[in-house]
């Protein structure tokens, strides 16, 4: 399904401590603002990016590369916005 409602992007996790509670909360919080369904993939696993518990169980370490996938009307905006969050370390200092 390569239509304009499906987008994905690779993101690098810059937060030293990995996807711990604060970035995970932020990611879920922001993802919930979009109507598109959003998945986060790390290695073999794929979880719901709107669920903080799911994100935490990925336990992605700092420096790892993940994939964001979104499907739905605002999928393109979601990917653009959430990739930004990764690039800005979710507002954390390190």
């Amino acid at each position: 399904m390569t239509n304009k409602n499906y987008f994905s992007s690779q993101v690098k996790l810059l937060n030293e401590l990995g996807l711990h509670a604060r970035p995970a909360a932020k990611l879920a919080q922001e993802a919930q603002k979009f109507s598109a369904s959003i998945k986060l993939k790390y290695g073999q696993r794929e979880v719901d990016a709107k669920s903080i518990l799911d994100i935490l169980t990925l336990a992605a370490p700092g420096g790892s590369t993940l994939t964001l996938c979104a499907k739905g009307e605002d999928a393109s905006e979601a990917i653009a916005y959430l990739s930004q969050l990764f690039a800005q370390r979710f507002g954390e200092e390190k």
Partner: protein
């Protein structure tokens, strides 16, 4: 509501009549787990969803109240909010209601358990620990489901506080103006909660059977701190009877308070010093008001609890100095830190100790963590300049250990001399005798120190091999056990042989049934909780040394504890009948 009487262990005397208020920390056992009928599934789902909503709203209100400078906290609350909003969490619980046909509370717990399993597979320890946040959030929802949304801070009228257990931190937060009395399901005769209740002067009962099951929030109860029971749904007659008893007790208290400032001297002229045990600086007023002639045991642990960092030397110095100043010229015996790593584990990492009571605690802990010990010794030494402070080391179990302590103490003194900081060069040094081993070598230890203080609570535990907070064996906590009486007598005699003073601090010193026997041993001072001083002084002032010695002689030669108890009860009954009415005793009835 049907009338019921629940029995427990009386730890602080008095009567309270009022409404029950459960502290919001029920044990898991009290969580209702029920099957539901198919017709109730929709209802139960709705109940769960609205509980999530209510919890969310509550937490959001808390978040809004957090001032900007506390962003650190806001972040934690943000993640709790996200957990509450997590669909996986909610859907997991809803699914259990639907498929297993169980109530919302149970379904929620099952969902938490599922998440817990997923988290337990995470390698990153920090993230794995976040399951605790899930737990906290789930507790919040459970509270809404069970219609309880309150901690100690939420109490608005005077109530009788009920709880599964009260930790030292809980008891600190108790607001005495709002709590008439308290009762817990856990605990034994000499547990911490009891010590706190007596120092706050409120009646208390611990180890109450079926406390959480048989009492409902807001129900009218009578708490009887004399006999250790709670009457649920009392009759009119009982209400009148207990109101009268409460009145009589208050009248008796005011009577004994009138003579509490007189010396504790027997009719035949033997005088014993009456000192107080305290753990909070604020208790000083109670010591003076109740006729305490000094502080025989200042427990220094509180400054180390409930905080993120260790107290500084300066902070401790201020505390000890102020204490010495307020009490001056009365004496103040400061006991060095008497706790283990389990209480201040933030700083020292948790130890794997299968038996902390026999582990790295008190003096052993201090010798292992010399920097912490040095700061406290320096603070005590610096505060000693007024001349009324004595220093006391807990849990000494042998001569070499004592010498090591004294060696380190001299080093610290030397440092202060080099820094030209003044201190009392002749501050008396004492040790607690609370291990059976030290009892046996009391003559050897006596050559090394200026005084002994017999800590009977631990001595009884260690000598008889029982955990005093374990309600299944606390009946074996027998102060009149011949082994205990012989131990105390041995230590007193060894001290006097060596020409040093001996004090006795422990629950027995505040027990009117035990005091005549202790008097008979000719201890130099008794150290007890301030509130018990007036009653104990009154007994001593009405007794004769002759009868105390006579009683001791009979009791120490008695074959059984039962017989000893009988002898003591007879004496009290004949000589001090009103004490029987108003006092609880460590001696079993």
């Amino acid at each position: 509501m049907a009338r019921k009487v629940l029995s427990g262990i009386a730890v602080s005397v008095g009567i309270a009549i009022g409404k029950a208020f459960f502290l919001n920390r029920g044990s898991k056992a009290s969580l209702p787990r029920m099957s539901i009928t198919p017709g109730n599934v929709a209802n139960e789902k709705e109940r769960l969803l609205s509980a999530f909503d209510a919890a969310l709203q509550e937490l959001d209100e808390i978040r809004q109240k957090i001032p900007g400078e506390l962003k650190e906290h806001a972040a934690i609350i943000e993640s709790h909010l996200m957990i509450l909003k997590d669909e996986k969490f909610k859907q997991g619980a809803l699914k259990y209601i639907q498929e297993k046909m169980i109530n919302a509370e149970w379904a929620l717990e099952k969902s938490v358990a599922d998440i817990g399993r997923a988290f337990s597979r995470i390698d990153d320890e920090y993230i794995r620990q976040r399951i605790q946040d899930v737990r906290l959030v789930a507790d919040r929802v459970q509270d809404v489901l069970r219609g309880k949304t309150k901690g100690v801070g939420a109490i608005s009228q005077r109530v009788i506080l009920l709880a599964h257990d009260l930790s030292p931190a809980d008891t600190i937060a108790l607001q005495v103006d709002k709590i008439m009395a308290f009762a817990t399901a856990m605990g034994g005769k000499t547990s911490h909660a009891g010590i706190m209740a007596r120092s706050l002067q409120i009646p208390a009962v611990v180890g109450v059977e079926n406390l959480e099951e048989d009492i409902e929030d807001g129900q009218l109860i009578i708490l009887d701190g004399f006999h250790g029971r709670i009457i649920v749904g009392p009759t009119e007659e009982e209400l009148a009877e207990f109101a009268d008893l409460k009145y009589q007790f208050e009248a008796y208290q005011s009577l004994i308070n009138k003579t509490c400032h007189l010396p504790a001297e027997t009719i035949d002229g033997y005088q014993v010093q009456i000192l107080a045990n305290i753990e909070l600086f604020e208790e000083v007023a109670a010591v003076i008001d109740h006729g305490g002639e000094g502080i025989g045991l200042y427990r220094t642990e509180y400054s180390y609890l409930n905080r993120d960092s260790l107290p500084s030397e300066e902070e401790l110095f201020e505390e000890y100095h102020e204490l010495a100043e307020i009490m001056y010229p009365r004496k103040v015996v400061i006991r060095t830190l008497d706790m283990g790593a389990d209480k201040i584990s933030n700083h020292f990492g948790s130890l794997e100790e299968s038996n902390p009571a026999l582990g790295l605690r008190a003096i052993r802990f201090c010798l292992k963590h010399k920097e912490l010990f040095r700061a406290q010794l320096r603070a005590i030494l610096r505060a000693s300049v007024l001349g009324n402070i004595s220093i006391m080391f807990p849990l000494i179990s042998g001569l070499q250990e004592l010498q090591e302590v004294k060696e380190f103490y001299s080093q610290v003194q030397e440092e202060l001399r080099r820094e030209k900081i003044p201190f009392n060069e002749h501050m008396p040094i004492g040790i607690m005798i609370e291990v059976p081993g030290s009892v046996l070598i009391a003559d050897i230890l006596a050559r090394e120190v200026d005084f002994f203080s017999i800590g009977t609570n631990d001595l009884i535990q260690y000598s008889l091999g029982i955990d005093r907070t374990n309600k299944h064996v606390s009946y074996l906590y027998q102060p009149l056990h011949p082994a205990i009486l012989r131990s105390i007598k041995h230590v007193v005699d060894a001290a006097h042989e060596a020409g040093i003073e001996v004090s006795l601090c422990g629950e027995v010193a505040a027990d009117p049934f035990c005091v005549p026997i202790l008097m008979g041993m000719q201890v130099d001072s008794l150290s007890l909780n301030p509130q018990a001083i007036p009653g104990i002084k009154r007994i001593i002032r009405q007794a004769t040394m002759e009868e105390c010695k006579q009683l001791l002689k009979q009791v120490i030669e008695s074959d059984t504890v039962d017989y000893s108890n009988k002898l003591v009860r007879e004496m009290i009954f004949n000589r001090f009948p009103e004490e029987l009415m108003f006092y609880t005793s460590l001696i079993d009835e």
